[in-house]
Subunit: 515 residues, 2 copies
């Protein structure tokens, strides 16, 4: 596809010019918003929270106003009536049209009310976790639920019906914000099918004695861990001239531009895997951001296709690569140079240790087998909430019941149960499924990469990761938003969202290699 599409003429050209200016400015403002978030979690002084809240609101307001403006609507209408011949321009009009419709559908007052309710929700959630319990959080959560339902109702009329399926429901409108085109009607049976083989697989694995990971106990110098994570970044081909790594409590990635991608990691002196896997995960996100189509940076197309596809990149590097034996054959000697107490450990022992599977209560610490069951639990609950079939006050009991059923373990308290995630505290219903979508895409994309790149495992073992990085860049990252996530995956793997490859991957690994 050409980087500089040729110009249409007359009124169409003027309309394109208008959209082009708007998209360029919106991209810049999105980058600014990213910087505000990054700074807040890394360097912002503690007393600055209130002022930062106003700054974020001002930028989000400016983005909303620009996106929903009559000027943008007029130019879009012109170009929807006369679609540009150039494929990239047509795609840009389609995606901007989607963003515009969503922004215009939700009244500014509701946007502001949600922003306020999010602040209150986060505050109430923090206090609830510090000992006051779910009852302290429930009113704020109810308010967020009510506002999100209003938002969903406002979005439903502009929601597409892919494949001419049944009329969408409110949850679909929220799900679509994370995974454009994905609907409950497709997601629900997929997750049901996933559970059907995942639960028995977990039973089989956990019936075996756990691997020996005694060498991971002890104290591991924080500065040495940090230097190892920088070596991992270089190994993966993350460009540290077009990005950087810092420390934060909760690791995250934010791409201000392909030339400015910030990731964070966390260092625990007693958990030497934490920093390494955080870095692998976030740098997986980071490579997506660095390899976006920079030539299209003046359009909405220079962005990821969905949250789930983004997550697939982090999970692929963290799990398919980062929890493989070939990877630790190259990485462990390097890690041991920084942390000499690991120098007696063989890659095989290390490989087993980083693949320890257990029934755990906390999602963010879950292994790759259990993880999706945590997501199913949350999806089931928030779907019931949105459908009005579960009251907020009944949420803790429903959580514990599902935890027992799905994970085989009951939380000892709310902090390890219904209060564990921050997502609902900012009203992010419909977001969790993206994590499982990411795990599924990761397995499918890695299976395709293995087919496309013969000798991939040998290359990984030699530390040659550029082939995989470039393959992902070409087939996934550089597409940007020109296609929807599922189309991008289908073009590479020949199939859409499926649990087949994840099943094959997990069974091969846990019933084969690690048996």
């Amino acid at each position: 596809m050409p980087a500089h599409p040729k110009a249409p003429e007359g009124a169409d050209a003027a309309a394109w010019e208008t959209l082009s200016r708007a998209m360029s400015e919106l991209r810049a403002l999105a980058g600014v918003s990213g910087l505000l978030g990054w700074d807040q979690e890394t360097y912002m002084p503690p007393k600055a929270s209130a002022a930062r809240g106003e700054q974020v609101a001002a930028i989000e307001g400016a983005i909303h106003d620009r996106l929903a403006s009559a000027e943008v609507r007029g130019a879009l209408e012109r170009l929807e009536a006369h679609p540009p011949e150039d494929a990239d321009r047509a795609a840009a009009v389609r995606e901007l049209s989607r963003d515009h419709a969503q922004a215009a559908a939700v009244p500014g007052a509701l946007v502001r009310a949600i922003a306020r309710a999010q602040s209150e929700g986060l505050e109430a959630w923090r206090v609830a976790r510090q000992g006051e319990g779910f009852g302290r959080f429930a009113p704020a959560l109810s308010r967020l639920l009510e506002l999100r339902r209003e938002q969903a109702a406002a979005l439903l009329p502009v929601l597409g019906r892919p494949g001419g399926g049944p009329a969408p429901e409110p949850y679909d409108a929220l799900l679509d914000l994370s995974e454009p085109g994905l609907r409950v009607v497709a997601l629900e049976p997929l997750l049901r099918g996933l559970c059907a083989w995942l639960v028995p697989l977990l039973d089989r694995i956990t019936a075996r004695p756990p691997p020996d990971d005694s060498f991971l106990h002890g104290t591991f110098d924080g500065e040495a861990q940090w230097r190892f994570t920088l070596e991992l970044l270089d190994l993966m081909g993350f460009d540290r001239e077009a990005g950087r790594q810092d420390r934060s409590v909760h690791p995250f990635t934010v791409g201000l531009d392909p030339s400015d991608v910030r990731i964070t990691t966390r260092i625990h002196e007693h958990l030497p895997l934490s920093a390494a896997f955080s870095t692998l995960h976030e740098a997986g996100h980071g490579l997506y951001e660095q390899q976006l189509p920079a030539a299209l940076r003046q359009t909405v197309l220079c962005a990821a296709a969905s949250n789930g596809l983004h997550e697939s990149q982090s999970r692929l590097w963290e799990n398919q690569v980062g929890r493989s034996l070939p990877f630790w054959r190259v990485a462990l000697p390097r890690m041991a140079r920084h942390l000499p107490q690991l120098s007696g450990v063989s890659p095989e022992r290390f490989f087993r240790a980083v693949n320890r599977v257990e029934r755990s209560l906390v999602r963010v610490e879950a292994d790759e087998v259990t993880y999706n069951l945590h997501i199913v639990l949350r999806f089931e609950l928030e779907l019931l909430l949105l459908r009005g079939k579960l009251e907020v006050r009944d949420l803790p009991a429903a959580w514990d019941e599902r935890s027992e059923r799905l994970l085989g373990i009951r939380p000892p308290g709310e902090v390890e149960g219904v209060l564990q995630d921050i997502h609902w505290a900012w009203g992010a219903f419909g977001y969790f499924p993206s994590y499982t979508v990411g795990n599924l895409y990761a397995a499918s994309l890695f299976a395709a990469a293995r087919r496309a790149l013969p000798g991939l495992e040998g290359a990984i073992e030699r530390g040659e990761l550029s082939g995989l990085k470039e393959w992902l860049g070409r087939n996934v990252h550089a597409v940007g938003r020109r296609r929807q996530a599922e189309e991008i995956v289908r073009a590479v793997t020949g199939q859409g969202l499926t649990d087949r490859d994840l099943r094959e991957y997990l069974e091969r690994k846990y019933l084969g290699e690690l048996a």
Copy 2:
């Protein structure tokens, strides 16, 4: 003055509400702009420059549009016709009106043309300094001069005539952006009078043998210097929970909000005074930002009154405090704890060494006696440029001639001469005088502080700096923009902009204490 002024009624109340929202958003956007600048000089990855340029342009554009908007104009007209009774609101209307008039007077196309010319100017200046010479910079400088003249012409009609003086000239319009209310007609004779006693004073001082500063030669551990600067911040009462210090090539201060003030310093292992005085200087700026009237943060009043008044705060802490004997009686033992090679040095010897005066070529390295002569040189030249009485191509020769006349020294090359400052490279004509205004206000304010706070020197010697910090907070910082800079100074010192106190300070110090 009340923090929450009472509300007027009806249409006036609605107009105030409109302005209030706009001011609140403008303040937030100004904070965002500050963060973009801070990040650019501290943590931004090198490849991100182009994207950052677009982000800055988007924010500056949003600020300009909001400020110049018809909505703001309408509300201002209403409240100018019916001025609020409350003094703070009336002041807010006056100051916003000034900002609006300036923004509205300059066409958006000119604003963008200046932004582009600034990028080109900075690039050309860098290349010129790297060996290509002034001829490489001259075309970009000519273009900037032309655009600034256009800007000045656009601003002249909205420029106030304080005291009913003569019609303003183009230079006044640019000067007014840094020093509201200051005019060439007042500045020129002031600077002439300053030179009349400063040049002979410099002659007398430099006729003496220089003080011994041999103990400042050698290598001084960078980390230890850094820890000492943090101790200086705590000594000054800079709140590190509402701000932070980082490293940058050129030290600077940016206040995103009174709760979020960022300063930087630079560490040279062979110049142990560099970090200490950079920190004192920037933290002086920082205290101004931290002590702004936070209760008025939703208005334009929560900001400094002028660049010169801001500079007075940095210079007061750097020079009147930081180059005094009482200060080093408390600070040197602390410095020597971090840098043990200084432990044999007496405060008296140190005091002499940090007050070494010499004819130097570079403004930013100049001592407090010579410094203002560097400013006079630049003011004379840029006034001639703006008046069309000096051509850009003749600037290098004019620089060298004035350097010899004012400083008694001729630059060996352009890098130490006409190309030394970055200011003209971004077309900042009319900015330099603020440095001298700052030096004059610093001397006047410190003289007033000594009168108001008996035993101030003893307090400094004991490390009790909070009295001075609070006095400045009360009398200068917390006023914000409620009054113009000169009024703020006059209310404390009984006089406006004058060189009398600086002369007294320098003569007392260099002909008395240090004779």
